[in-house]
Amino acid sequence: MKIALAGNPNSGKTTLFNAITGKTEYVGNWAGVTVEKKEADLKKKYNVGKELLRVVDLPGAYSIAPFTGEEAIARDFILDESPDVIINIVDGANLSRSLFFTTQLLEIGVPVVIALNKGDIIDKRGDRVDITSLSNQLGCPVISTTAVSEKGLIELIKTAVATGKERINPAFDKTKNSTTDTERQKIVDLIVKNSVIKSRDASKVNLSDRIDRIVAHKIWGLPIFFMIMWAVYALSIEGIGGRLSEYFNETLFGEIIPNAVGTFFERINVNPVLQSLIVDGALGGVGAVVGFLPLIMVLFFLLALLEDSGYMSRVAVLMDRYFKKIGLSGKSIIPMIVGSGCSIPGVMATRTIEDVNERRMTTILTPFVPCGAKLPIIALFSVVFFPEASWVGPSVYILAIAVIIVSGKLLKRLFIWDSTSHFILELPEYKIPSLKHAFVQMIDKAKGFVYKATTIILVMNTLVWFMQAYSWNLQAVEDQSLSILASVGSGIAPFLIPLGFVGWQLGAAAITGFVAKENVVATFAILLVVASEDALHMPGGVLTQFFTPVTAYAYLAFNLFTPPCFAAIGAMNSEMGSGKWLLRGVGFQLGVGFTLAMLISQIGTLVFYGEFATGFVPAVVIAVLMTVFLVYSIRKADVKRQIMELAEEEM
């Protein structure tokens, strides 16, 4: 039996879904968190019968006629896959709006059970809803629920299963009732009037509005936003998260574990090659990544608190007028903040942006926000090359903002966008973020991170270890520069010379970064543990043989601003909806990362050391060619735009 959850955005569908299935799907206090349908089996606690019950969580919709992409998903599922019963989650905090969608659902001819959700908010407001009257008027069962505290859910599921089994279609008379949508709204108003006693006037200025007037103030809004984001990163990178990671990296994975495992292997006489593979390859590489787990956990914990509070929608309102100037929507900030945790959900969050051009542009720009997987690279490079400086971490975020602004402006000129965008966003009431929820999300993300580290990163590291230890004819090599990895890295290395990066190792690390960005750190750990006794994370450590502080910063920028990992490129592909646009997007990202690293490296070396960096001449040639290409492309786009304008005038 298939149960579908449908309702308005931010009515609590996913919270309810998580409660009855035991899943930990992504929840946030803004409209449009869920962009794809999610399926899972019902938890035992709720499953009374023996039958397998499958629950489908659908993205939120205000109406059966879709406005955004995710609304279309909800409609298509209900119409095409005809679930056995629909649980319509009705936002008790906004009954009259929710019931518009409800009446549309009732007419489809599928059994419907209504969960009158957010019972806690109804009680807090002092409103009263007559459930029996509501149920009589709508012709279907209505159950009062509070999904956050799991109140009423057992009864809800029991009723839904019974209604679905007996195929009791709603007794809501379609012919008698609505012929037009306006009449439908009138009917809804009547139903609400008959069954709800309101004690609160919603049009009065409330506490949320007062908070909004401060946090979305035209002058104070931006500084407040930057302070909040700074606090989030300071706490995760330098605060408790950073401290714990430092311990993990230097002591736990730097000494205790490798020593213990090494001693153990020696005692049981394990083959030295296997020993090296496990200790240097697998443990060294994975350890270099897993050490950053505390840092990433703190980051996700804080982001979850932020998302749960309702603040995200306000940032979107605040940012709209700035983002409009670079061809984005205020809503583009939500993917970017989410993307500071991980680019994949960030890119997926672009789906709530209705305008296709704004959505594509946001999809290209979101991976420029340094994600959690890039934090290990930032942390490693800042501790090795800038041990005394505290500006490196923040500077990366400032650089990211600058890159996004310049890229936005450039994209706007390079391609033809037919933007007719409108900004409209629901502002949910603020709520005190739930620590429990943030904790659950954090553990979920931590599991994902450990899973990634022990699968894809482990495999990749074993491969890297093998490739650096063996030559093409599978002979173990003493000298790394004769290894398979060296020859692969050497293939890339010439392209990196204009950026001032010399050495096949740098090429090899950058390539592994596309599989997962943490691999950049892991690869260095594997490559350098053989070359040196010093720990990777020491100030002035082994990495200094490859970089000056300037080229190190350039290499950091190169890894942050070239295309994201393959998984994120996959997410970009599904959001772009066109191979051509994916190619343009990835090409653009590659161009940005390459050029930026080149400029930092060449100009920085000239300014700080008064000398030319390696590859200065090719860099100048590339810079000239790049400029010519950009000017030419922009001219071409300008001409096209003019032709289109003329054509429009003639019409």
């Binding site: 406005f67 709006r97 909004d212 103030h217 035209k218 409108h422 409209i424």
Partner: protein, 72 residues
Amino acid sequence: MVLAKAKIGFKGSILKVEGKDKIKKFLFSLGCFEGEEITLISILAGNYVINVKDSRYALDETMAKNIILAEQ
């Protein structure tokens, strides 16, 4: 009078919603259509925060110009 010209605290009914069909339909599903009550709560960073039914929405100026209010 258009919403974009209204003063904060304005409470009245909607005379008409103009603009593209798709946007009109969307506003309609939120309960923002002719005859309905609307309140201008605040103007935040150039956006108009309105109350329609029981919820708050932020609209940009372009949209606020498309909502015509009934004169009182």
